[in-house]
């Protein structure tokens, strides 16, 4: 740390840590699980999933987690996806975030006759709204999308609305969550918050019955843009 800390500290760090230091240095004999010791326990967890075709694995996993997924390989399929989404009679207007892919999708929705608005004040999004954003990445293993406040300028875009449409460039899909954690830690996505979202908001708090949309969106639509 070369830069002086800009935040504020209270309580007594040195006495707090001195006690921890003393206790942590006492010898103990942990009861270990019997597995071969690896040089690097954090070397990663291995998965059985086939990660050779990231788009295919992503699509299957996202559908399993109850996202609606369009995969578009060419302009015709892209247009078909736009028309299909624009014709959703439940949606009065689409709120589009200020990111290149989302803006492009918004323009096409508008051409298809939908009402499209920019998001000027994320806080004002309501429980009835539909939002279009770009995902900074997709995760093949889990069908998750990663959203960065550094990219969209907001933490709330996927929390507030009823329905979330995320554009996922095929090239942004990474194999596992590990790649996302690494990317954020290494500041590939500058910003104060990264949200990894997997399907619609859900709860099992009442009799273990799955119910969607308890706080976040009840519907998640993903458009995987695999055009060359």
């Amino acid at each position: 740390m070369t830069a002086p800390p800009s935040g504020r500290e209270s309580g007594d760090r040195s006495s707090f840590l001195a006690k921890v230091e003393h206790r942590a240095s006492l010898p103990t004999t942990p009861h270990l699980i019997h597995v071969a010791e690896k040089d690097d326990p954090a070397g990663g967890v291995a998965y059985t999933a086939d990660l050779s075709d990231l788009v295919a694995t992503f699509t299957a996993a996202a559908r399993e987690h109850k996202s609606v997924v369009y995969v578009v390989h060419n302009d015709a399929e892209h247009l078909a996806a736009v028309l299909d989404i624009a014709s959703d009679s439940d949606v009065e207007e689409f709120f589009v975030s200020d990111e290149a892919e989302a803006r492009e999708f918004g323009n096409l929705l508008e051409q298809a006759g939908a009402t499209v608005r920019p998001i000027t004040e994320p806080r004002q999004l309501t429980q009835r709204d539909t939002v279009v954003t770009t995902a900074v990445a997709g995760v093949a293993l889990t069908g998750s999308i990663a959203l960065s406040s550094g990219a969209s300028g907001s933490r709330l875009l996927t929390s507030l609305p009823k329905s979330h449409i995320a554009i996922v460039p095929a090239a942004s899909i990474v194999p596992t969550p590990r790649d996302i954690y690494q990317g954020f830690a290494e500041e590939r996505w500058l910003g104060s918050a990264l949200i990894i979202a997997t399907g619609p908001s859900r709860t099992g708090d009442i009799e273990m019955q799955l119910a969607f949309g308890v706080h976040g969106p009840g519907q998640v639509v993903i458009v995987v843009d695999a055009r060359p």
Binding site: V35, L156, F184, A185, I206
Partner: protein, 459 residues
Amino acid sequence: MTDRPSLRARAAAAADDGGLRSNLHRAVTHREARRPEAYAELTDANEAHGAAQRIRLDTLRNLPALLGTMADNVLAAGGYVHWADTGDSAVDYVESVLRRRNATNIVKAKSMLTEEIHLNARLEQAGFEVTETDLGEWIVQLAGQAPSHIVAPAVHLNRAEIADILGKESAEPLAGDVTSLTQFARSRLREAFLDADVGITGVNFAVAESGAVVIVTNEGNAGLTIGLPKVHIALMGMERIVESWRELDVMMSLLPRAATGQSISTYVDWVTGARRDSEHDGPEEFHLVIVDNGRSDILGSEYDQVLTCIRCGACSNVCPVYSTIGGHAYGSVYTGPIGAVLTPLLSPDAGLNDLANASSLCGACWETCPVGIPLHDLLLELRYRESAAAGPTERAAWRLWSTMWSKPSRYRSSLSTAARFGSVSSLPLPGPIKRWATGRTPIPVANKSLRKLWKRPRS
């Protein structure tokens, strides 16, 4: 401190409650059915558990350095750090932030640590309005109850009971189906979010090298708690930390699998400090409260592996005692096997040191624990500690038994005495032994012992 009924009485009452039993049975079997599938996605679950265990044990040994790095990074990102030796220090700090910000309304995402330090009660006493936003936690808050499971607070209630609790909050009659109840909660809690001045969360993992905190939910309530209010206060137990994203990845691959049989929680929120200048929303202030509250006394003791716990609650789901009596009978904030170990260690004066008896020592908790905490060994160790404090009568009884059975001749005569009287539980027994015998099936003792049969001349 203790006017509560004894553990035995609490357990008996809970076990007699048929409704509770069926609610628990449903939950436990559901959770257990999903876990194997989620684990099957890992090439080697045992190895993953081993890696997680080593990471957590290394964390305990490196705790001072990790906490120092974490604090430096939070400060460098413009955040506030408070070192809280005790629960009171943590609560006082939260209260001071609320007062400085003239806050009245607080939203919270579920946090066991805040239950441990009784944050809600203290803040409400001081006149603040605190709303829990996890659906299950909100339900128990409205019912004036404590959560009964580490990850599923309202698991002891059924739909009709929940409809009743939520119905009291609604001006209009509520339909009793799960979707209607959930939608009611959504709209009511959304108002609380929009009105909130401060959002309070726990921390699933702090990442030292990034100064980030990671919070997982399925509902998305943490995202709103850390996105809408002007201040975010995160409270962490000092042991809930990893060095870097590498360790985080291993822990995060196991937490949702162990907790709910999911390959990933629906929302993983990773935040570093307050909003940046270029961002349109997010809090103006970020506070990290690092809480000891008895943890450092456990560190370096024979119990210190309990500090590697990641609060997944899997041990409760497989525990025959928990699934019979539920969480409330424990009488403690932390329930199930982990609660039976943690409670006497964190709060030795709470009158709950007999919780180690709430176990059959079957070891299912240890087997399922993603970080391999030897819960059954720790429970046994705690029983030993408790029995050292036992009364003179009990000590005398054990001494007598030990004397009787330490010589073959005395052992033989005790058996022949037993044979003469048939079975122990049919005898007029003194208090504690009678209680022990109640509910046990008498074992008939043969007229002739094997020893005698063996000695009989064989033809």
